[in-house]
Symmetry: C2
């Protein structure tokens, strides 16, 4: 049976996990698919587009899970904290995950839809829309930067501690900043 684009992207993710981003080669991929070099370009425009699709495969579950959590009426700040941990877990789950996402930002309409839904939910929780967007961007940037170090520096156990604990503490600090900022906002609007 002929190949589907989804199978190509899926195989690419598996290859990435096996050999890492630097050794990821379109030729190794077509070998794995049992197909000629050129066949790839019927399914995909370029290696870059392919890797962007792979990045999407990694991040999508993170946003979908986010939308589920919103059903329950939990604290908005806890929502950000959980988002941070889920995003990190998704990146760590795949070899060079952070580096891949860093240079191949997935911008498919599906993710954007989830993103908008998130903002709407936060607005319902009393966070101004531009602030909510800024907060989301802040942790996304932070998590990317952090996992980048984790996966790039071979033994990233700074300060002797384990890096999950450090991550947790850092996220707590950032979210604490958000809480403090929103609290100050509430005081102003109560007058």
């Amino acid at each position: 049976m002929p190949l589907q684009r989804d199978q190509v992207v899926q195989a690419a993710l598996e290859l990435l996990d096996e050999v890492g981003l630097d050794a990821f080669t379109t030729r190794a991929l077509t070998d794995r698919l049992g197909v000629q070099r050129g066949a790839l370009y019927w399914h995909v425009k370029s290696k870059h587009e392919l890797l962007t699709a792979v990045a999407g495969l990694i991040t999508r579950p993170v946003f979908e899970q986010n939308e589920q959590d919103e059903q329950e009426d939990s604290d908005w700040a806890d929502g950000f904290t959980e988002f941070a941990h889920r995003l990190r877990a998704a990146m760590l789950a795949h070899r060079d995950g952070a580096r891949l996402i860093a240079s191949h930002v997935p911008q498919n309409p599906q993710d954007l839809k989830h993103f908008e839904a998130n903002l709407a939910w936060l607005e319902g929780q009393g966070i101004p829309k531009d602030m909510a967007a800024r907060f989301g961007d802040t942790i996304a940037s932070y998590v990317t930067g952090y996992v980048l170090q984790e996966q790039t520096l071979p033994h990233y156990n700074e300060f002797g501690g384990d890096s999950s604990a450090t991550f947790t503490a850092c996220v707590r600090t950032i979210v604490l900043g958000m809480r403090t900022e929103v609290a100050a906002l509430a005081v102003l609007t109560d007058d």
Copy 2:
């Protein structure tokens, strides 16, 4: 006169600014140096080592400036804020600066020395050492992640606003978290 390693690294930085990371080629570099392809490998072990040195060239001024600022007795939190802005400026000053640094972390002893000096100064300001290290790591990760987006997504003016203003606001939030955390710490130790 023969080539020096420093000239090679300097020329590499210039080439990077001209063509970007994807088109950066050792062959283009040796052409620019007016030398044969193989000559490069007398000065440098590999392309990766070369790019790591280039990354060091970009980040070094940031840490040196930091040490100067410590001479004056300014607020530690303002120090972090300024560090964030200087790091971003340094990355933005060079094409693909963030992406380069993300995958070629400069770990030369010189930078580490500056880093240690920073921690010592923060300790003098009353911030526990492990907390200071964690805070430093937090902004460094955040800034890297943020500029990565800025330089990767072509027109990164989210929410319609300009991205410098967004950056400033995000950094303020993070530093606010640090301030709040340290304030809570002070209350505890005052008892």
